[in-house]
């Protein structure tokens, strides 16, 4: 844990300044089948290579963001705010049923 993570707000910092939030997952809607809930709760891709993850800049700006980290080399390819990045991150308001 000596690698650097570029916080979208504060720039590159020691990984020890952050808390890890696990790989990003999609929270199923409130009426989803139980199988979707189980997948969301218990099934992880555990990629060997780039993986989109939640990180919290605990000792810095105190914000959560998403990072694409190579799980083999610990190199962080890019970081972005939720809702601002491409692809796999949970979308804003997805958890709400309205």
């Amino acid at each position: 844990m000596t690698f650097l993570i570029p916080c979208p707000s504060c720039g590159p910092r020691e990984a020890t300044e952050f808390s890890f939030g696990g790989e990003s997952t999609r929270r199923p809607p409130p009426d989803a089948p139980a199988a979707d809930l189980a997948r969301y709760l218990y099934v992880r891709t555990n990629a060997s290579g780039p993986q989109t993850e939640w990180w919290y800049h605990r000792d810095g700006c105190r914000r959560w963001f998403l990072a694409v980290r190579d799980t083999v080399t610990n190199e962080v390819e890019r970081t972005f705010w939720p809702g601002a990045g491409p692809g796999t991150e949970p979308g804003v308001g997805e958890a709400a049923s309205g």
Partner: protein, 217 residues
């Protein structure tokens, strides 16, 4: 049921108050706070500030936490306030001791729903670090590169193995102020003193620090 017979004269104190007393501090009242004005040996304090490093407990200064549309609040803040801008959406506004109690509600009204304004004076303990050995002290308590912190800038980073906010003041000698949550206040002051003593320095009072050109705002 209320008696109303007893009156209180509460005074605000830093979490490190008793350490100051043990170090022989003489206290002054300012803005409802008791601050360590000077310790036993004033000449030594000046020498540390000139050649080593001095650590001064500035917890008494007012602190206002702003989250959200910081710029909107800053526009209403005017002068007589130091802005420690940690991120786009988070800033600490630093005031003279006792001033935050008046300023925070004003700013809260001005902010409306755009930002949350909180009087954070009691949330943080603060320590001013001054003298030529400040970079050496910082190298021993934070993994953050102090050279990356320009005058007037602020960062949130690991400080003494806990969370801290560092502010480099735009004042003569560019002193650095460090803020940690007040429950860690005494631990942080102890840690800073141990490191400062190893570098030729120690606790200095507000009087000596002011003579070097430091001021709260």
């Amino acid at each position: 049921m209320s008696t109303g017979a007893v009156t209180w004269d509460p005074v605000r104190r830093s979490p490190a108050h008793r350490m100051h007393a043990d170090l022989g501090a003489s206290f002054e009242r300012i803005g409802g706070w008791e601050i360590p004005a000077a310790y036993r040996d004033r000449a030594r304090e000046s020498a540390w500030l000139a050649r080593g490093v001095g650590v001064c407990d500035v917890t008494a200064r007012g602190k206002i936490d702003v989250q959200g549309e910081v710029d909107k609040v800053l526009a209403a803040a005017g002068n007589a306030i130091v802005v420690a801008r940690i991120s786009e959406v988070w800033a600490l506004l630093l005031t003279e001791p006792g001033e935050s109690e008046r300023r925070a509600p004003e700013l809260e009204t001005a902010a409306g729903a755009a930002a949350m304004v909180t009087d954070a004076t009691d949330l943080y303990a603060g320590f001013a670090l001054a003298g030529p050995m400040v970079p050496d002290l910082l190298a021993r308590v934070t993994p953050f590169d102090p050279d990356a912190l320009g005058a007037g800038e602020a960062v949130g980073t690991t400080f003494a193995e806990i969370r801290g906010v560092l502010v480099r003041r735009d004042l003569p000698g560019e002193p650095v102020e460090a803020y940690v949550t007040s429950d860690h206040g005494r631990y942080a002051f102890e840690t800073l003193l141990v490191v400062a003593e190893g570098l030729g320095g120690g606790a200095v009072g507000w009087t000596a620090l002011r003579e070097e050109g430091w001021r709260p705002c």
